[in-house]
Symmetry: C2
Subunit: 357 residues, 2 copies
């Protein structure tokens, strides 16, 4: 993955192309599905035939893409004839139900759900981190297979942490997240907005997506609690990072918290590196890293915020400094923001597809 | 400090009293000043004469307390005649300007600003943690002196961390905060509310207290950045904890973030203890600790939230679990919420005063 492909705003796919790709989007009406459309258009992905798929409920709706109108079709086992690339973002059960049909039809599935992430043989890819695992898998356009897109919090963490791991080795990660509503989908974003209006009006907030007030509040991630006291979201960050790095013993602990922000996640990350690294070197490593933009202006107190990260490709990294609780100079702290819908989901999936062009 | 004094909701001061105390509040119109009134009333603090002081701008305003109306007087050097206890919360410069006059008049000043916290000889007190430092100082009602109330984030952290430190020793703290608007005062709370209305209406947010959008956003704490890359708020947590524990080498690193929440702070805390401690023991230690309420219901996914902590005396502690990135079983993680205005400021100051009754 060259840095030209991943850094900067809305870069296009590589210019050299031998052919176009027939693309289907499964879950075209969701927050990530809609972002797939924007990302594919902005990056001028070489699309041949184009299919928008969703549940029967959404079938018949019309969506504009590159200036043309497209009609959403119902997702069925027969949807994938002639499809080269199927981008799935319709939840884990839809992926489990329909990805096999897509692969049988010869398509490469890039799946944004958690359905196949930990399945052996399914590459789990962050292009900036482990593009080589995709090549090694043998999956390519024309040779069907499933590729998994990692969890949004995992992607955002790894884009920032990986270059430091490459430069100095990594002994340990402690991360606390500040996660946006978009992580729970478009309905959660609407609920946050509705609740906020209600609370400001002195009314009781309507809790449908979440079981408690989200407006002007925050809470521990509501995914299922595991026996070790970590919730599923936290263990995704641990397990997926271990798989992506090919390091089943990687030491990572996460605390995942939902905050009343719309669409970009923030993460406070403390690292123990394999060797001492001062903040100047860390800044240099990060500034040169693909997919990273350093936003670390101490003089003007300007650091990454979810608002600034929204609608951006790059993961913003700032507050880069020594971990002063570390005794050996190997501790490093930083604060990171990334667009959950974009780099945390749709963009990463399209970048995976671009690796196969 | 007995647990009866600090745990539970709105407990009263000890029943045995020899006399009443003449109390002045400097900064009576601020968010913390108003909370002083509520806390003193709820705890039935044995007040003799009562003075409400503020800037000339607020002088003449009337405030009700224990069913009687009180008129706010202008704070001057002559305000403290006959005052036994002066609770200050009008900013650091006001404390520096007027605390000496109060002490000269024979009053004990409990100062909520940062003006004297790190001054040698000024006790910095969290009653649940270091009440003995107050006795050792010799400061008492009738013998004037200044006592400092720690920073809100420091107090909330220490109430939760201290019992574990006592039980097992403490090698290291890594903390990331989720700080409410109230930490920047009543004007910041109004700004968050106004901005939220504006953003929901599609208008540009008015940024007066903060230089950037706070509504549906979050940002690194805007206090002054220090040479080591930590901001003042973060270094307060480090330096104040070291002073309170009498351990100038205590290893603590903080990342302080403001989140769009009204009045309770949250903190994600990772500890390295002096010995291995399993989560059952940690929960037991915390359940028995003064000022702590364990809210850690994994089955119903109920953990501390700012909303639940608001208007509460206790610091809520949950998500108690092993730090799975720790190799030696000495790592412990937890998530903590405490009312910033109450235990983070007014309540802690009144509890300090109660120690002197």
């Amino acid at each position: 993955m060259s840095s030209a492909q991943t850094s900067g705003q809305h870069r296009r796919a590589p210019a050299l192309r031998t052919s176009t790709v027939n693309v289907a989007i499964a879950g075209a009406t969701g927050a990530v599905g809609q972002e797939f459309l924007r990302v594919l258009e902005q990056r001028d992905f070489p699309i041949g035939q184009f299919k928008l798929l969703a549940s029967a409920r959404s079938a018949g709706k019309r969506v504009s893409f590159k200036g043309a109108e497209h009609t959403i079709e119902e997702l069925t086992d027969d949807s994938f004839k002639g499809v080269d690339l199927a981008l799935f973002s319709a939840g884990g059960s839809t992926s489990k139900r329909f990805a096999p049909a897509a692969v049988d039809a010869g398509a490469v599935v890039v799946d944004n759900s958690s359905a196949f992430r930990m399945t052996q043989g399914v590459p789990l890819i962050v292009p900036e981190v482990n593009a080589e695992a995709l090549s090694a898998s043998g999956i390519a356009i024309g040779k069907g297979g499933v590729i998994a897109n990692p969890n949004c919090s995992t992607i955002i963490m790894l884009v920032a942490v990986h270059p430091l791991r490459v430069a100095a080795g990594l002994r340990r990660v402690v991360v606390s997240t500040y996660q946006a509503a978009s992580g729970a989908g478009a309905a959660a974003m609407r609920e946050l907005e509705q609740q906020t209006r209600q609370v400001l009006a002195g009314e009781a907030p309507t809790c449908e997506v979440f079981s408690q007030q989200y407006a002007l509040n925050l809470f521990s991630h509501d995914s299922a609690m595991q026996a070790n006291g970590y919730n599923q979201e936290e263990m995704k960050m641990v397990d997926e990072a271990r798989k992506i790095w090919g390091d089943p013993a990687a030491r990572i602990a996460a605390t995942c918290i939902r905050v009343p922000v719309m669409r970009a996640h923030a993460e406070s990350i403390t690292l123990e590196l394999g060797r001492a690294m001062d903040e100047a070197e860390a800044r240099q490593v990060l500034a040169a890293a693909p997919g990273v933009e350093v936003v670390d202006d101490r003089e003007h107190n300007r650091f990454p915020t979810p608002l600034e990260a929204s609608d951006r490709d790059a993961v913003l990294v700032g507050r880069i400094r020594q971990d002063i609780s570390s005794e050996d100079g190997r501790g490093l702290a930083m604060f990171v923001c990334g667009d959950q819908i974009r780099k945390g989901a749709a963009l990463n999936a399209v970048q995976i597809a671009e690796l196969m062009l």
